[in-house]
Symmetry: C2
Amino acid sequence: MNRPAFLTACRDLLGHDHVLTDDADTGAYLVDQRKRYTGRTLAVLRPADAPQLAALVRLCVAHGVPMVPQGGNTGLAGGATPDASGRQVVVSLRRLNRIREVDAANMTLTAEAGCVLADVQAAALAVERLFPLSLAAEGSCTIGGNLATNAGGTAVLRYGNARELCLGLEVVTPQGELWDGLRGLRKDNTGYDLRDLFIGAEGTLGLITAATLKLFAQPAARMTALAALDSPTQALALLNLAQRVAGPLLTGFELMSDFCLQLVTQVFSQQRYPFAQPYAQAVLLELSDNESETHARELLERLLAAGVEQGIVRDAIVANSLAQSNALWHLRESIPLAQSATGLNIKHDIAVPVSQVPAFLAATDPIVQRIAPGARMVTFGHLGDGNLHYNVMAPEGHDPAQFLAQYQSPVTTAVHDSVHAHRGTISAEHGLGQFKREASARYKSPVELALMRTLKAAFDPLGLMNPGKVLPD
Amino acid sequence: MNRPAFLTACRDLLGHDHVLTDDADTGAYLVDQRKRYTGRTLAVLRPADAPQLAALVRLCVAHGVPMVPQGGNTGLAGGATPDASGRQVVVSLRRLNRIREVDAANMTLTAEAGCVLADVQAAALAVERLFPLSLAAEGSCTIGGNLATNAGGTAVLRYGNARELCLGLEVVTPQGELWDGLRGLRKDNTGYDLRDLFIGAEGTLGLITAATLKLFAQPAARMTALAALDSPTQALALLNLAQRVAGPLLTGFELMSDFCLQLVTQVFSQQRYPFAQPYAQAVLLELSDNESETHARELLERLLAAGVEQGIVRDAIVANSLAQSNALWHLRESIPLAQSATGLNIKHDIAVPVSQVPAFLAATDPIVQRIAPGARMVTFGHLGDGNLHYNVMAPEGHDPAQFLAQYQSPVTTAVHDSVHAHRGTISAEHGLGQFKREASARYKSPVELALMRTLKAAFDPLGLMNPGKVLPD
């Protein structure tokens, strides 16, 4: 590869301002959100639109330059960080940030990959529609990255992952061709499902440049409650009760252990423990209702009353205002912040079948304690999806960094082994990136790994698309 | 290929009774549901289970024998019918008919490919759960075929196509390896989406042997109404109103023109025209409600009253019993039967963006009339999904067979061109099979066709999996 010739060609194509090579300019693109990986790069390239990106890919192919796509750089698995070789380019999708079309009657919106998730939500709201994908990074993550990693979040129970929210894609192939698959159709059975192949592939099979997304009617009301329970088994019973009583109105079902709530109230003095006495588990329930706030509250009260009657629910708070509802969510959302404030944790983004959550916790907590006696379990997450952020914190008074250095590897291996034994996944919603590609391969069958390699080789025979991600070497 | 040696090996593997070669035994496997295609076969092979099927595929590969998978043989595009060469085998999946697991708390069920759809529905009902896939052939079609063709039906608006109802698959690859992807997980971001690649591929990339399916809480009530309207534009307005008022409770939204209703009442003397006077269009709405029948009826009445007030709805009937609800559905379901009773039709299974339905009809009806003056339009379908069965019937007094012979080709080409111009699809829910593979290729971009061929070549380099289907030669 002739570096000066390549960079000159890039500048001719993109304009001088959009080929970044100075460390001061490229630095922010080279470290991942969790500061776990730092890469080097030949250049950060910022194409203006999809045709320019297609031309850029052809240029990279001609020069044999590996490409690392990047959106908001909020990924949690290092999927958007280049390696240390300095031979890879970062292809930033941030300038592809137009909302191309909003079709309210079709309940669809077409957004370019670099649109910030919050801007997509706002464009939907402007026509009284809901784009339900919602996650902590929504103010800075991009829809392209959400799709490339098949992002989850807090409303998956009702609306599905990013995958389920996407009807069509536009993609630049590894050969630099532009595939227009931007269909706004609810049904289309004309051949292979290319769309879902690119979704979740983390840019290793092609680069998503735009997507046609599903919208929903904006609900008339959202209503939240917090229920106190004795165990994960009771939380599962409450979930099944809520599904029967509220059906599709149930949009959130978040589990948090007592330790999580205690941690939040310790770290953030303005947060108060919500119940009069401690209970082992709490569940945040959210309903989205197209009728009225009154209807939602009555339904939630009826549901919780049934839970009390059946001996499932020990105490409950139903929000009586949007402010109170937000306060309950704030409690839940403060858990990862409280964790960070107390130092590094061993984090796991796992899912098991919903029915297996109690058995998984009963089996795995003691395993962790045997490896790291006194470790504190910070267990919370999206129980409705079987998705737990099963995090492990240093024992009281121990140095978090030292704990991490000593226990991360054995604890994570043991947790992942247990997840696998419970027919679960070691990456529920964060993807594999470079962080979990090796670990994931341990649990995949040879047949599945071979099929994945077949796909990669067929689509990207030169191996230039986000190399070193998803698949192990 | 050494035919006797191959058949002997098949008999050794499957047992003598499960290798059918006599015309009397094979006949039923060689004609498609619509009697559009008749094939010949080397043998009909009936493996007992997935490992036996994997061994059978290896045997076929060793002998270079092309395989045509078949479930209930109810497909509408000839996807399960062998060609006329007599060199292909039919691989019947019907003996793989066990429900392997029902996990009510996880809301999942694992069924083998040969399970009849109605049996899957019944297994869900037995644990008070709903498997919502529902279509006319449910008494004989199989879940493997439903997934291989990504079947749609009448509840897609709320629950999605077969694709959206599937969490995991077990597949025999074209190399005869068994891939166990039977995951019951709501979230799993560990690599490429192999599942969705096999779904809708009509057996051309591998053979689905089992699936883990999503279940839902059984609703407390279903409530149906029929609304009279003046135009497709008003039907679209009613759809958007219903989505706002009823949100996810809206499970069905079926459009039928006045001509469809007139036809049903003419052909079936026991069916009566539902309204006091004719209206241009009727819409059947269905709500599924987890609260109560009373709540569902009140919601439906409120919705229709709002429709009347906004000048959208001209008249309406709300079912006041399950029997009346079934009668309304019976009216809708009688349309294709009434069509068949009056002779052959030119049929189209198309979808456009929901917002484009009025414009599509306004543009396409006159085009058809110019080609075939006096032709009668039998337009009905799943408006909520933008999916119309846009069928064209001979003019009054004309011979249907002669009409078909003369007009099928020009009418279908014109309809498909118009669908394409409205950014739609020429196969919404029936797949391509051999019936539409050539037509579909006309509307696919070269990039998309090349990607599809890349996939086919990568997965099935010998071209033995259901050759001549989906992709044009």
